[in-house]
Amino acid sequence: MNVGRFIQYIASGTAYTVSVSLIALPLGLFLGLIFSLLYVYGGKILTRIMSIYSTVMRGIPPIVLLFILYFMVSGSINLSAFWAGSISLGIISSAYQMEIIRGALLSVSGGQMMAARAVGMSRMGAIKHIIIPQAFRMAICPWSNEAAIVIKDSSLVYALGVPEILRRAQLISASTQQPFLAFIIAGVIYFVLVFVTNRLLDGLDKRLRIPANP
């Protein structure tokens, strides 16, 4: 048995895990931000549409959605499993991120909008310069939760055949008959990734915190 080589083999899937997360999270953030703005400021019809989107997307297990989106995406465009999986995870995450940002937008008091309008800002200007910067700060903590979930859920793309950490762990487990060791290695790598990410986001939260904010 060569534990060193197992670790090396499984760990070399980390690049995939990190890449999938680095595509899914920003994509989910971008879509989530737009969707949440439409939800909060878009008027009745858009609010309704976004509310349905959120309910449906959050009501189906990510793995099921991943397969549906994967076959939809790869059916229409010729994409690798890696890209199709990453984009699908980003779309799934957008529903959760939309709810996080929506909550943050709503927690900025209505007076801030009124004061911004009073100095002559347009509604769009007020949202951009006053509301979003404040909401963004409030969203960091709940967002770090979603970041952890996406990193862990990136393991789902193993079902599409992407050779990331979990996929490799399973191969090792099957070929060596040592599942415990293989999955422990995978677990430790995931834990370290999530731990470091949350630490970074905590640091960002502290750095951006508004001094003595009531």
Binding site: G111, M114, R117, V119, H129, P133, A212, N213, P214
Partner: protein, 254 residues
């Protein structure tokens, strides 16, 4: 010849069947400080919000500097640049320092260059005596200081008129003086001001006119000496002296 800055004609605001105020007529001349008083719930704050178009009146017209701002298709955002507004609860932008609070309208709305906007913002902070607090966040300032920053923020836009919506009502008693002092100085410098307040000392000493609003309409409109001592309606005198007793002890002593 007095130059009318703000003219309000037959302004009416209602929510459903509830009439907040109706057929309000008033003219504010350049350089005048006019105080609006009246029992709570008579629509004083709503009136101010209707004047700077934050709330839409149901009917009536408003002219600013001879231009009808209630005319359909008028650019409301542009109008608000020329009307400064100070709120009861300050409403400073929480994520910005005092300096940036004053600066943001200059850079984002008036599109001034960064160094110009900064210099102008600093100048306005000096005007309210807070240059040394420029880099403090709202949460690090006292209520009185926050309100002075809010005044500077409104002044920075070089408004034609300043609206004050109970600017001292949310302040601890010992902080009221510094805000009234800034307002008094502004008035003396010739700023046109429309002030909703319960501070009778300020109304008597600083204002050119007092408007008594009750149950959604103007009861009386005249110089403070008249309203305090020889009003047309006994009700006006009663209200004024009652409020003076409740709020104005310190000022009336001086």
């Amino acid at each position: 010849m007095p130059n009318p800055i703000l003219v309000v004609k037959d302004l009416t605001k209602k929510y459903g069947d509830h009439i907040v105020f109706h057929d309000i007529n008033m003219t504010i001349n350049e350089g005048d400080t006019v105080v609006i008083i009246g029992p709570s719930g008579t629509g004083k704050s709503t009136l101010l919000r209707c004047i700077n178009l934050l709330t839409k009146a149901n009917s009536g017209q408003i002219w600013l500097d001879g231009e009808e701002i209630t005319a359909p298709g008028h650019d409301e955002d542009e109008v608000r640049q020329h009307i400064g507004m100070v709120f009861q609860n300050f409403l400073l932008f929480n994520h910005l320092t005092a300096l940036d609070n004053v600066k943001i309208g200059l850079s984002k709305v008036k599109k001034l260059k960064d160094d110009q906007a900064e210099a102008k913002a600093m100048q306005e902070l000096e005007r309210v005596g807070l240059a040394d607090r420029a880099h403090h966040y709202p949460g690090q300032l006292s209520g009185g200081q926050q309100q002075r920053v809010a005044i500077a923020r409104a002044l920075a836009m070089d408004p034609r008129i300043m609206l004050f919506d109970e600017p001292t009502s949310a302040l601890d008693p010992e902080l009221i003086g510094e805000v009234l002092e800034v307002m008094g100085k502004l008035s003396k410098d010739g700023m046109t001001m429309l002030v909703v307040t319960h501070e009778m000392g300020f109304a008597r000493e600083v204002s050119d006119r007092i408007i008594f609003l009750e149950k959604g309409s103007i009861v009386e409109d005249g110089p403070p000496e008249v309203l305090f001592y020889t009003p047309k309606f006994e009700r006006t005198r009663e209200f004024l002296w009652k409020i003076t007793e409740l709020y104005g002890k310190k000022e009336s002593d001086s």
